[in-house]
Amino acid sequence: MADTANVEIDDKLLKKRLDKALFKNRSRAFLLVLPLLLFLLVAFIGPILYFLSHGFIDKTFAALMPQTTEALSEWDAVSDPTEEMFAAVVADMVVARKNKTIGRVATRVNRDKPGTRSLFTSSARKAAKLEAPFSESLPAVKKDWNDIEVWQAMKTASRQYTLGYYAAALDMKVNADGSFERQDEKRRIHMTLLLRTMQISFLVTVFCLALGYPVAYLLATLPARTSNLLLILVLLPFWTSILVRTTAWIAMLQAQGVVNDLLVFFGMTPDDARFSLIYNKTGTLIAMTHILLPFMVLPLYSVMKGIPPSYVRAAKSLGANNWTAFWRVYAPQTIPGIGAGALLVFIVAIGYYITPALVGGQDGTMISNIIDDHMRKSLNWNLAAALGGVLMVIVMVLYYVYDRIVGIDNMKLG
């Protein structure tokens, strides 16, 4: 009886001690990864989430035109603007003019109703001198203030949380009453570019696989000395700047470039009808395939290196011909490498930016070039964030599909 009690106490004690020791180990491990975790949070995940939030949140108008925002919130977007709304706009413009923020307001509204920028900047200049009733004095400065679309654009702009940018990223627009509608045909561009981005990325992945598979096979099967040399040939371009490799392709492929010169020399094309190999989709495909090739070769190589040659020999000794031995025995074992390489190439390609910008011309540019355009030229960072968000969702969906079909565990990076 006493013995069992003792054992029970020991059991509890032991369990406690074990838990304590495990906890110690776990917290030690956690502390070890903590710096990396913090770094990722602060330098990677945080900024991405913050920037993506720009796609939903836009407080520009509400923050800089507070009275107008309040006055507009009660307006039904159909009836004529009231005197209070006019008075609020004038009062806000006086302050915004003084703080030099009127330009931001003007830019914001201009996105929804093009051509209104100067309406705001020039009216603001005179706002301080205006007298009531403002519903008469403000339109006297610029008659556009009688245009109900201007007020509707302001109402749209005054929403702090908006789906407008994500809608714009998918070639839709939000009306003042909150309904969605397809963008005018003249201004539809993002869907075209998203589809083209997917198409180019897919083709680049296929080309990389077609070119990279034999190379990786050679690397894995040749004697060490030769294969090391080959490996350096694969790695050397990998270490060269993308910019250098891209401009090298320009020199190679342009109308007066090496490739066309050779073709003309061998009489394969007349001098006045040289091929357009660059500044179009062809150029983007060639240059990107070359640049992304190592991302395919290296995972394939590391997988193939681990396949014992005895398997193929065994298959042959059991009566398989070369093709069957390769297709039924060797190729299935390389699927983890193919999966890793294809996923790497595709995901890097989908966000590719420098190469298409340099050699893409008009039909070889991709969605990231438009994102860049909104970052640097139109300064519409909200739309850039929304486009980035759409791209990220696409990548995650593809990742999920890949996981369902191939299985993410069935992937070997090296």
């Binding site: 051509g115 920028r117 075209t192 500044y279 139109s378």
Partner: protein
């Protein structure tokens, strides 16, 4: 970002020990032959005079970097060379420091700066330096007959071959309308209507399949030299420099030119305001503006500089006067870029242009 340091001369000056506390200012401009003209005419003499340092950086225009630096409260740039529409927009958005024209030195003939500068060449936040122009140029050695009008640029039947065009609606839509027969004075009126925009894009459609698009100012002379295009739009100074310094057989067609200004602006919260302002005063005086015109064919914005404009810096018989966008002979059919039109319609036309490109 390419970083060209012009600190050598400054290092010497500092080593001699004439100055105790040297400032280093960062000046951002468009690179290539243009930045070189500024380094030669402004930076080097200023460094020699003040013992300060200048770090020269290149960019491709636009306000994005300025906005990013100001919004983040981490401003690295002291002065930026911008186009007029960006100067106005940046000022409206509170991204730029104010600059007072009355702080600038009088012209050499005693005219106060505010009157010496050509009308519209300074704003509350920006001080102009040069008049530049978008023109088109061709390689004379590769053309059977010489194109002479803006309409010829859009005429691929009479003048077959590829065209180089900046990947941007600005100046292109104007040129398309002028080529379609709209007089320069009415271009912006027409472009302000939906039909006008349609008309401009329709004209662009007629050469779309023959276009090589460029983005950086240094590209068009290269495209011409490589034989990649037979004609290209370009900034006039870049073509001039290829001709003057590299003896390229390029010819400029001034008909239908679209001219614009470049101005100094200071991002809000620039780290070395005083030294930078001193540089602005120095670089925009009568002599310096005239000196820059001996390095590149961009016209000085001070009236008092015009008579001082001489010949190309290493070619005494190459008179710069007739090379300027503002020379009477070149202004016969010319259009000034309307910054207000572009400030109003830039976003929409950019979108439409991109959509048109992708079609």
């Amino acid at each position: 970002m390419k970083r060209v340091t012009t600190v050598l001369a400054a290092g010497l000056a500092a080593a001699i020990g004439t100055v105790n506390a040297a400032d280093t200012i960062t000046i951002v401009s468009w690179g290539g032959a243009y930045t070189k003209s500024q380094v030669e005419a402004y930076h080097k003499p200023w460094i020699a005079q003040t013992g300060n340092f200048v770090v020269s950086e290149d960019y491709n225009g636009g306000l994005a970097e300025v906005k990013a630096q100001v919004d983040a409260g981490n401003v690295k740039w002291d002065l930026v060379d911008v186009e007029l529409s960006d100067a106005v927009r940046g000022c409206d958005e509170g991204l730029l420091e104010e600059m007072d024209i009355s702080a600038l030195p009088d012209g050499d003939d005693g005219t106060p700066a505010a009157e010496d500068f050509l009308p519209g060449t300074y704003t509350d936040c920006a001080i102009g330096t040069i008049v530049w122009s978008t023109i088109y140029a061709y390689d004379a050695s590769k053309m059977d007959s010489a194109p002479a009008t803006i309409a010829d640029f859009f005429d691929v039947d009479t003048f077959p071959g590829k065209r180089g065009i900046r990947k941007n609606p600005k100046a292109n839509l104007e040129m398309a309308l002028m080529a379609d027969g709209v007089p320069a004075a009415e271009v912006y009126e027409v472009l302000g209507t939906e039909e006008g925009v349609e008309r401009a894009f329709a004209k662009m459609d007629s050469i779309k399949d023959h276009v090589v698009w460029w983005e950086a100012g240094a590209q068009p002379p290269q495209l011409l030299a490589d034989g990649e295009v037979v004609m290209t739009t370009a900034y006039n100074g870049r073509i001039f420099n290829a001709v003057a310094s590299e003896d390229k057989p390029f010819e400029i067609v001034w008909d239908g030119q679209v001219w614009d200004l470049d101005l100094w602006v200071m991002p809000k919260g620039a780290p070395n305001k005083e030294a930078a302002m001193d540089f602005v005063k120095f670089s925009t005086d009568t002599k310096r503006l005239a000196a820059q015109a001996s390095w590149i064919s961009y016209g000085p914005v001070r009236k008092s500089s015009a008579p001082l404009v001489g010949s190309f810096h290493n070619k005494p018989d190459l008179d710069m006067g007739p090379q300027m966008p503002t020379a009477a002979n070149n202004m016969k059919n010319a259009l000034q870029n309307d910054f207000e039109f572009w400030a109003d319609n830039q976003d929409q036309l950019n979108e439409q242009f991109n959509a048109w490109l992708a079609k």
